[in-house]
Each structure stands twice: as C-alpha cells, then as structure tokens.
C-alpha cells in the first residue's frame, strides 16, 4: 500500500518511460510513453486501462529488491481504485462498499429479508413466482433499484471523463472499445500467450477465459431478463416460461457460465499475488464475486426447484441477491466494467489522434 498512490505511480511511470521494454504487452505503455509529464488525469486513465495482467511486473528488471522497487500493476490498482472512489456518486458509498466485503454481505442479507417479507406479506397476482410476489410489487422494488444505480454510474463516468480530459466521442472509438472488451485483448499479453497472474511468470489464458465466462454469462442473464420484460409487456406473455423459451434459452446457459466463471475467478484470485493488487479492496472484491455467484446459483436453483416447497425461500434469496447486486453496482467491482470501457474509448481517441 502506498501513502500517495498517484505520486508513486508518477515516479514509477517515469522509470517505465525511460525503459519502454514492456511496450508490446498492452495498451497502457504506448499511452504512457506519449507524455513526459503525466497529470493526475493521465495516471487515472492509465490505471483504468490496466487490466492487471501482471506481465510487466515479471518482465521488470527493477522490481524489489532493486532500489527502484517497481510494481506497476500494484500501484495502478490503487490509483484505479481511488479514481472510482473519487468519482463515484455519492463518494462515501464507493469507499464503504469497495473496501468492506462484509458490507456487501449485509446489504445482500437485508435485501433478501426484504424480499422474504414481501413474499410473506404481499399478495401474489399471477402464476409461478408471481404467485409468491406479485408482478407489481416486484416492479415497485426493482425499477428504482435499477434506475438509481444507472444514474449514479452516469454521474461517475461523467466525472471520470472530465478527469481524463477526453474529447467528443466518435462511433469508431466506441466500436474499438467494445471490440477490445469483447475479446479481452489486453489480457492476451501482446504475444497471445495470456498473462502472468495465478502462477508466477508462467503465462496462461485462465483469467482471460474465466473473465469472459462471467462477462458473457452476465450479459446472457441480463438479456434473458430483458427478453422476459419484452414478452410481458409487448406480447402479453407473463412468466413463468418453459424450457424452450427465449428467456430460458438465454438464462440457463448464462447462469451456468456465471456460476463457473465466478468460482474460477475466486480461485485464481486466491492463487494470485496480493501485493500486485490493491490490498485495501481485496475483501470487497471477493465479496462482490461471491454475490455474483449467489445470484447465478440461486437463479439456477430457482428454476430447477420451481415446483417444490423451496420456491418461496429461493425466490427471496435470488431476488434479494439481484437487488443487492443492482444497488451496489456503482460502488463495487462491477463498476470496473463501465470505467474500463470509458478508458478504452479514451484510448481509441488517443490512437486515432496519434495516427
């Protein structure tokens, strides 16, 4: 942990800028090598471009015990974390949840309890789980819980955009950023062998593939929910849906991918080197991945046990974890996806203007 991560990152980047051996690994170094002096916003941008693949750390001839004591993945992890907390709305929430996995757990339990109360006290108004909690009650709970985090994220990303001094966005910037995220190019290591993360200087694609399982699994689940909403409102086809329906065709594979991906990410994170990450938020990060695992697991169980007596309990657990997940999105590791995309868009602008 560094007393002043931004100043420390500036010191380390100056050493990197005089060396440049790592230029081919990822987007961070070409971006870093443009400027001799890096402003605070430049460092925030570099930190959010950094995917923590750690290849530069193992390649570096200046890591401790060398007196230059470089640890770029570590210091950028702290700068990145500070940039999220500094720009989050409201800022105090960012600091609290990122740093305390137990708070994430607490919110989850409270959300589950709320849903359990709703299941017990409010009348149902349909079939399947709508018989347990009515559709209107769900909407009353989830609509604000969905919209508020979106607003908070919008404010956060706008603040980030101002911090890094970005320009007007072109369509090509966005397609470039999504292309990079879709393939996780920055975790491919530049040479395509992957990254050093869970096993010293040995390269692997484990983290890249597990991350993509989570990302695509999450997107499939999200698409399942969205398709259900459309079926409900546009086609007047309310849940429950059978196995051969669009929501289930998207949701079941998505849930499985999310389950496997989150377990895998927790495993390699435990294997990884804590000093190359931000020690302040290790608990919060584990808490968040665990929450995502609970979301996917309870979702799958809910479908598997939909006709059993466990329905009411599982529904409360699942919807409670989803509610906690939504509410915490701007203040948890989930926010990284949005900041990372913003940084990739900004980097596309940088590459465009340097051509």
């Amino acid at each position: 942990m560094y007393a002043d991560p931004v100043e420390e990152a500036r010191r380390q980047a100056q050493i990197c800028n005089s060396c440049r051996y790592c230029e081919g690994y990822c987007a961070v170094f070409p971006s870093m090598h443009i400027n001799r002096f890096l402003a605070d916003g430049d460092l925030a941008q570099l930190a959010n471009l950094c995917h923590n693949c750690q290849n530069c750390y193992d390649a570096c001839q200046y890591t401790a015990p060398h007196e230059f004591a470089l640890n770029l993945p570590g210091v950028l992890a702290e700068v990145r974390q500070d940039s999220w907390e500094q720009t989050s709305f409201p800022a105090a929430m960012g600091t609290a949840f990122h740093r305390h996995g137990t708070l994430i757990g607490l919110v989850s339990v409270l959300a589950m309890a709320l849903l359990f109360w709703a299941a017990r006290s409010l009348p149902g108004d349909g079939e399947g789980f709508y018989a347990v909690i009515g559709h209107n009650a769900m909407i009353a709970i989830f609509l604000p819980a969905f919209l508020f985090p979106l607003l908070a994220l919008f404010i956060g990303i706008s603040r980030y955009w101002e911090l890094v001094g970005a320009q007007a966005i072109r369509l090509s910037d966005i397609t470039a950023a999504f292309g990079s995220a879709a393939t996780m190019r920055n975790l491919a290591g530049g040479h395509g062998d992957g990254c050093n993360y869970e096993d010293g200087d040995r390269f692997s694609h484990k983290r890249r593939y597990l991350h993509q399982l989570v990302m695509y699994g999450f997107l499939l689940c999200f698409a399942a929910t969205a398709s259900g909403t459309i079926l409900h409102y546009v086609f007047d086809l309310p849940a429950p849906y059978g196995l051969f329906s669009i929501p289930k065709a998207l949701g079941i594979p998505g849930g499985l991918m999310l389950c496997v991906g989150t377990l895998g990410l927790m495993w390699i994170k435990a294997e990884g080197r804590p000093n190359l990450q931000d020690p302040r938020v290790r608990g919060g990060e584990f808490g968040f991945i665990l929450l995502l695992f609970v979301v996917s697991l309870t979702g799958l169980l809910l479908y598997a046990l939909r006709d059993s007596a466990a329905l009411e309990l599982l529904l409360a657990l699942h919807l409670g974890s989803v509610l906690a997940f939504f509410l915490l999105t701007p203040y948890s590791k989930m926010a990284h996806g949005f900041y990372r995309l913003a940084a990739l868009v900004r980097d596309a602008q940088r590459r465009r203007s340097s051509r």
Binding site: S18, G24, N55, D58, P65, F68
Partner: protein
Amino acid sequence: MASRKTDHDVVVVGGGNAALCAAMTAAESGMKVLILESAPQSYRGGNSRHTRNFRCMHDGPLSVLVESYDEDEYFADLIKVTDGRTDEDLARMVIRRSEECLPWMEAHGVRFQPSLSGTLSLARTNAFFMGGGKALVNAYYRTAAALGVDVLYDAPVRHIQLDRRKVASVRYDHDGVSHTVQPRAVIVASGGFQADIDWLADAWGPAARNFLIRGTPYNRGTVLRNLLDQGAQSVGDPTQCHAVAIDGRAPKFDGGIVTRLDCVPFSVVVNKNGDRFYDEGEDVWPKRYAIWGRLVAAQPDQIGYAIVDSRAIPLFMPSVFPPVRANTLEELAQKMELPVDGVMKTISRFNAACGDTSAFHPTELDGVRTQGIEPAKTNWARPISEPPFYGYTLRTGVTFTYLGLKVDENAQCRTEDGLIENLWAAGETMAGSILGQGYLAGYGMTIGTVFGRIAGQEAANYVR
C-alpha cells in the same frame, strides 16, 4: 565439505542468456544439466536481465524484423564500431548463425515485439524481446525446467580444478556449505569482471572507483580469474572496459537502460571546475555516448555536468531522474554545487560564440556551430538562454569488460598446450574472442545465443 561425483553430466557456471542457451541445448541432447547461478533468484540472469534486443541477420522479413540484413552489411557495421579489432572468422560465423537463432529462441519461449518507440532505426537489424531481457531469461528458465535442467541460485562457483588439460572438479558454495562436484563437462558463462571494483581499479587506475556499473553486481569475474590463474588462455585487453556516459545519479550497480542520458548534443557540458572540455556536438549521440564515458572518466572526480535550457527538453528521451531545475543559471550552478563564477563565464563565452541558429535541426548534423572558442561545439550550438534551465550530472557507466577466455569456433577453451578437453565458454566471458573494442547494439546477445548453443552441443557430444 562434501565431495562427490555428481549425477549431472554437465555443469553450467552462470545463469544468463548464454548459460541458459547452453543448458537447454545440452539437456535436449539428453544430458543431465546443473546450472550454478551466483545470484539469488530475484537477480538471476546476469546482464541479460538488462538487455532488450538481439541483432539478427535475415534474408527478407523475419518475425518482427523488416526488410533484409545480410552478412556483409552486418559485418561492416561491426567493423565500424570495433575499428577493425575483430576476429573475422568467428564474427562472421556468429552473424551467419544468428538467423537460425531467432526461430530457435521463439521455440524456447522468447517472444518478440516491434522496435520500441524512439528506436525506429533498429527495426531492420534488431529483434526486440517483448518485456525485455528479464522476460527472455524467465522464458528460458521455464523451458529449462521443463527439460529437466536443475538450477541452484545463490551458488557462486569458487574454483574449477584444472588438471593439465582437463577439468577435474567444480567447487561452489551453497546454503553456507562448500560443495565439490565432478561433472564430465563444464561450460563457463559467467560474464566479465566489471562488478569487482578492485579489479577494475587495478586494470584502469584509481579513477575506476568512481565508475558506475550498469549491470549486475554479480559479474565479479571469480571464475574467469580462477581459470586464467591456472593457465587458461585469455583474450582481450585486460585494462579496457566498455563504458558510456550515464546519469550521474544512477545507482552504483544495476541501473540499466533507464540511467542513459541523451542530452549531451543539446547541452553545454562542464567539469567540476565549470570548464568545458570537449565538443558536445561532434556527432549524433548513438555514435558518441561511448566516447563520453571515457571523456568523463578523464575529468576531475570522474564527473561532468550537462546544462540545457528549456528549448532542449523535448529533444531527448527523458532520463529516469528529473533534472535539477532553476530559473537562472546562477541558481542552477549553486544547486549543482558548481563554482558559480566559472559556470557563468563559460556559458556567457559559449553563448557569445553561437552564431546564426536558424538552421538548427535536432536530428541531423546541422552544422550550427560556435566561432572562436576552444573546444568548439560543431553542431546544435544554440545559446543556453531560455529559462528555466536544467542540469544533469554525467558519470562513467561500465557495461562490460573485454578480458575473457579465448575460445575456438567450437567454444572450447584452451591452455598454451592446446584445447582443454571438457571446458567450453559462452557469452560475455568469451566475447573478447570476437570483439576487441567498441560495441554494436544487440551483438552481445547474439554472441551469447550462438556460442551458448554451440557450447551446449559440444559438451553433449563430448559426454556421449
């Protein structure tokens, strides 16, 4: 003290590029190999950790290399920097074999990247290691482990027992205990002696105590001296080392690439008395940094001071240390602990000697020169006049020493009486067999790779 026959057929002394190439090659020929690396694991790899590329002959685009680079052009480049002090047969053999090395390196885990920003001039001749030399060393250690090579870190070799023309045993320290093993073949790849400051001072003179060592503190030449004392033939000028001018605030050892300082052509350089001592603009920096290592070594206290104004700052690569900065030249001289009057007099005379600067061009020999001062500055002579002013100190940074073991084209060592039956050498420790003076960027890694592979193969052939 434990003395025993070892299970290992081949012992490799050293743990850098040449040692690893030798060890992997021998292991691939079925040898049981032991690497004795004097450094701890975190500092393994000798000077190879600080390298960045490999100069490679190629007929047409090869991996990251563009166009072609043929044997004659490569050799001509070498002759230019060594002033003819080159063993042509060995040099040409290394050049010819460099081409097959590149795919071999890739197959053993090395990854290349396009030439780094600011080094476009090397895109045709030098293949850059992705992540630099330490990434290469890491890849080789992984591959060596997979081939069953054993490695001991913190295992400095103290003595290689030469019985007439055969190595009888190797003694090394490890975990506070002295061990002696009797392998069937030994490969020495343990670099030069530049980190032994006493030896350096004996060879060069007391000024060498103020030199900085750019690379590993573990290249102390222990094995080199041990073998020379027992009659192994040497090659290379024992008093000479390759030295360049680097940032004077660099650490005593291991500062590596980031301590280089490219500002001299755009500076006025004075010694500790505030006097200029050489034409700062004689040629472009890549052709002059080695000369400046010697120039600074000849100044009082072996230190120089480069002074630039704000216009020069964007013209050179940043050094790792921010320059001393001041709004006036008096203040700068004070901050750099230089005699203020002397510096002011030198710079005002220099500024007055600058003429028309309209032709100033930072990347070409622009002929913008001083008139009427000694020494003249013959290019890029612009007055030091636009505040703020910046200052860097310059010191002599030693890259490597030339004294080494004499080898033949099979990397085999010899005494006056002929070849030593089971001793080979590779890398910096024998590079003096090829390079008599000067240096060509990336050629050290080429020598290490080519001779490392030869030594590994020859040792394996001998044991079989």
